[in-house]
Symmetry: none
Subunit: 234 residues, 2 copies
Amino acid sequence: MTKKNSSTDILIVEDEAPIARLMEIHLQRAGFSTKTCANGRKACTLLEENHYQLMLLDRMIPGLRGLDLLRWLRKQEALKILPVIMVTALAQTEERIRGLNEGADDYLPKPFEPDELVARVQALLRRSSHQVIQQQKSTIDVNKDAMEARVNGERLDLRPLEFKLLRRLMKKPGKVRSRQYLLDHVWGINAFVEERTVDVTIKRLRKTLEKYGLGECIVTVRGSGYRFDEKPHT
Amino acid sequence: MTKKNSSTDILIVEDEAPIARLMEIHLQRAGFSTKTCANGRKACTLLEENHYQLMLLDRMIPGLRGLDLLRWLRKQEALKILPVIMVTALAQTEERIRGLNEGADDYLPKPFEPDELVARVQALLRRSSHQVIQQQKSTIDVNKDAMEARVNGERLDLRPLEFKLLRRLMKKPGKVRSRQYLLDHVWGINAFVEERTVDVTIKRLRKTLEKYGLGECIVTVRGSGYRFDEKPHT
DNA sequence: AAAAACTTGTCACATAGTTGTCATATTTTC
DNA sequence: GAAAATATGACAACTATGTGACAAGTTTTT
């Protein structure tokens, strides 16, 4: 019954095995699931047959040069919006700009800091329809497209309303949102619903978050509303 | 359990390590918490990954020129309101105006006086939803967004009314506010409450402030009302 | 199409936190 | 030292929030 969670899938296209392994380790530790492949041709196949959230693409791969793969990718209807981070040792501005021009969404110079790798992946996902927040030791990833939220890659079972509520609160962590504000933005401006309903939905959302040790994320601000705290234990 | 409070986070983007260190020391001494990074690329990542209250941005950083970073920043939905102080050796009016045009909120010429640095940071935060006051050796930071007040980064446990009262008094330090004025502005014009009630709430507010050695901040002006003193003379 | 499963709004009660007032103490002013 | 103003502690009323239950409405299964 315990279904394997697919989580946020990242395709790593990198021929140097140790580097690929390093990437995998750190991304997995951050809650992503990864798939590695070592050459461009295989990558195409994988991309066509599976759905990934993001690709890390080494510029220097055998079979098809990184840029060629990228160029091909951007011509595919189904893939052209896939976020791509180009990985390359060529840190020169010129090369970088070229990569970006070709359709890479971001760029990671090699050698890289593991932290930077993870941070860039998170940032890029956020720029897509994700909201990613590092919460203490957990990564919360809210994907609007898929209408799903994940904590360290594990999917949260949220009702649609709860999902929207979480999203809204995460939009500006630290900012207190009044019940009225939440009603307007989550339920919609013309929904005629009692303010107290917000409390109940918050409660339900919290209950789920609690399972992941994130019960403290949503803070009640007495007399004002609720707030998503990025760093609890205030 | 007693975790270090994150307080008001400031991102310092500065490649000259000694200068960055200097900034850090003084800002931390003033009660802010800081994060330093030395290049523009890393800064983008950090900005996307975390939430800062303010950024100090050197104009001459490697990787991405300060102005480019700023321009990028202002295009990001989530970041466009981040207060930015541009730090630059180019004190010429022309350059300064250009920086401001690009979206810097303030400007700090290099070399700078540490005091000026802190003062500008506080002033700028004050212009955002923060009210920051230097009180003897403590920094009081009242954040309206988060509905919380901090002294040297440590959170004050204030009741809503006390919070509003503190805010109101801090709005114009040194100015005496009559009980009636406070009733009108804190309790609201139509609240029918005794004037003496103000005394009690002041008392309660003072009690909390005392824990941080700030009991003298709120001065009673006999016959007139109360006043928030920026530099208590006791 | 009926049944089952799920979502969500509301209510009612429990709990907890806030605040106004009063009575009394203390300080200040003259 | 008396009068006036303010400080302070206690308390009770009040208000806001948490929480479980339930019903009405939806969607999914069968």
